[in-house]
């Protein structure tokens, strides 16, 4: 069994004269991976190529060790896909559709029925299983979309903007479900432009910008590097002095300090300085927590 979820080798794709992906060359390990980028960055195009729906203009890609061009049907037998747009037949009940979705992945009828029931329970739609999908709310539709993507117990599932259009509680529920998928042995690739969703659910990130690879690596690495924001309840001066003595660079804006360190973990440095100064803090947050910040960091390095 290959250790990578997918790989790309000088992968490129163009829609006519418009290049969507430029010579991507990277490997993503199994686990939960976030595919991050602004709209038009090439995330959906990459997923389409990995599913064998689009043929790359240049280069190649593998999914679970299989070539996307030559072994398309084999790949599709073991992956699931939750598209960003609609994918539900509005005139069918959730249960009927899930049985159909499992059948289209090659599951026998009895197993398809059992899996449909189990997965509807898993995504919290068991009570709604005999309702028509056209009568579902946006949140329920998103959960039904996730259910069809995993009903056949895929080895790898691609989730394209799974939290799009959800209210805060629906978003939390969806993120909880995505987190749980890893525990079921399902490898996950989540495409999103909301970095916080990726940080919460994934352990690896692939950042795309205008079809080029900006960065790929473990999420923890992203969080430990860069700078942090510290807001104190009282005068920040003692903490600032302790941080300066520890070798940190500080930019002060009122009671908020933007802190960065040349070496070591910035959070460890801040913790020690706060303890040393005996300060009370209101907030400690990474400055690289937004997509824009990370783009700026990696964009400047390019």
């Amino acid at each position: 069994m290959t250790s990578s979820a997918f790989t790309t080798a000088t992968l490129g794709h163009a829609y006519g004269n418009v290049a969507a992906l430029h010579s991507l060359d990277f490997e993503v390990p199994r686990g939960r991976t976030g595919l991050v980028g602004a709209n038009g960055a090439g995330k959906s195009t990459l997923i389409m190529i990995l599913l064998g729906i689009l043929t790359p203009t240049t280069g190649s890609a593998t999914v679970l060790g299989m070539d996307t061009h030559r072994e398309t049907i084999d790949i599709r037998s073991v992956v699931g896909y939750m598209p960003e747009g609609p994918c539900l037949p509005l005139d069918q009940t959730a249960a009927d559709f899930l049985v159909y979705a499992a059948g289209t992945a090659g599951l026998p009828k009895r197993a398809a029925r059992q899996r449909a029931s189990d997965v509807l329970t898993l995504v919290g739609l068991n009570e709604e299983r005999f309702r028509y999908l056209g009568d579902f709310s946006t949140g329920m539709k998103q959960r039904a979309k996730l259910a069809q993507a995993i009903v056949h117990d895929p080895e790898l599932v691609f989730l394209d903007e799974p939290t799009a259009g959800l209210d805060p509680s629906g978003r939390e529920e969806m993120l909880d479900l995505i987190e749980r998928l890893g525990g079921f042995g399902i490898n996950v690739v989540v495409s999103s432009h909301v970095l916080r969703d990726i940080e919460r659910t994934c352990d690896w990130v692939v950042m795309l910008d205008n079809g080029t690879l900006l960065h790929t690596g473990p999420i923890g690495e992203q969080q430990s590097e860069g700078s942090v924001l510290l807001e104190t309840i009282d005068d920040p001066e003692p903490v600032a002095r302790a941080l300066t003595n520890a070798g940190a660079s500080i930019t002060a804006r009122g009671r908020t300090l933007e802190i960065s360190v040349a070496e070591g973990d910035v959070y460890d440095t801040v913790r020690d300085a706060v303890v040393h100064a005996g300060a009370s803090i209101r907030r400690l947050d990474g400055t690289g927590g937004t997509l824009e910040d990370m783009f700026l960091q990696h964009g400047e390095r390019r």
């Binding site: 729906i53 037998s77 037949p89 979705a101 059948g103 599951l107 026998p108 069809q148 056949h152």
Partner: protein, 297 residues
């Protein structure tokens, strides 16, 4: 107080460890979904009305004919001979099959595109050819059934009213069975591919249905105008462009009759050429629909 305690069991996640039938299973699932869809099965009640109304209309005439055939056997005075009526009933059920195709082809293809189900199917072990082929098979099965069921009623009616007895009746009527299958195939190839092409080009079911019927009628009117009303050199071959007339002429020919008033007869074209033309046009239209779907899946 009770010392009984409750327990919550997390059933967890059960991975599927059985055998996956891959592409074969996927095609089977799409095929049976297609049959359910065109008949409105597992859908709201109003979706069942048209298909079953048309099936009812297709079945009533042969039921009545067979009933009358039993009351007034062929040998009696004013008796009805059920043998030899196959072509007439095919002409009626062919028309009903065309109406059914007009409704069912859009129902099979448009919601999958409009509701985005194609994007789900595109991630399954299916090719565009698998998808269209199985959808075609679903519609062909139901359209074929619309035409074969009335004929089977006639077949049993013929056998049951045969003066030589039921068993000999089956033997006497048996030669109609391959003809029934052949004519059902001719009507299917005449009507279904065009329905698929029209449905692949429209995003609204009602417009697709109306467009399909309009194209069928327009082709017939155009061919009649060219063949019967003009002296264009080689214009008689335009008669082959009309699926309705061609299928009807082939139907009569296969059952051993002839219709000197048909458009093909007026154009002096043998019905066998008509069948070849239907197969060629049907294949070309199917390839066009496949080309459309290669860009979608």
């Amino acid at each position: 107080m009770t010392d009984r305690t409750g327990a919550v069991y997390d059933l967890g996640y059960e991975p599927f460890e059985g055998e996956r039938s891959g592409r074969r299973g996927a095609r089977k699932a799409v095929y049976f979904d297609g049959i359910r869809r065109v008949l409105g099965l597992r859908r709201k009640a109003r979706r069942k009305i048209m298909p079953f109304l048309l099936l009812f209309v297709a079945l009533v005439p042969p039921i009545v004919a067979v009933g009358v055939g039993f009351l007034l056997p062929a040998g009696s005075a004013d008796g009805i001979d059920l043998a030899g009526q196959n072509a007439d009933f095919f002409a009626l059920s062919g028309t009903i099959a065309m109406l059914f195709t007009a409704l069912a082809a859009p129902e099979l293809l448009i919601p999958d595109r409009k509701d985005g189900v194609l994007s789900m199917l595109a991630s399954r072990p299916l090719t565009p050819g698998d998808y269209l082929g199985t959808r075609f098979a679903s519609l062909a099965t139901v359209v074929g059934s619309f035409m074969i069921l009335p004929q089977l009623l006639l077949f049993f009616g013929q056998a049951g009213t045969d003066p030589e007895g039921l068993f000999q009746g089956f033997i006497n009527a048996a030669d109609t069975l391959p003809k029934i299958l052949a004519v059902a195939g001719v009507y299917t190839i005449a009507y279904v591919p065009l329905g698929f092409v029209v449905a692949s080009l429209s995003n609204r079911k009602s417009i697709a249905t109306a467009s399909y019927l309009a194209v069928m009628i327009a082709l017939t009117a155009f061919a009649e105008a060219i063949v019967q009303g003009s002296n264009i050199a080689g214009g008689r071959w335009v008669a082959l462009l009309t699926p309705i007339n061609t299928a009807d002429a082939a139907n009569i020919w296969i059952f051993g009759g002839s219709n000197p008033d048909s458009l093909l007869a007026a154009a002096d074209i043998h019905p066998a050429f008509g069948i070849v033309a239907l197969v060629v046009f049907g294949s070309a239209l199917s390839l066009f629909a496949l080309h459309r779907y290669r860009r979608l899946m």
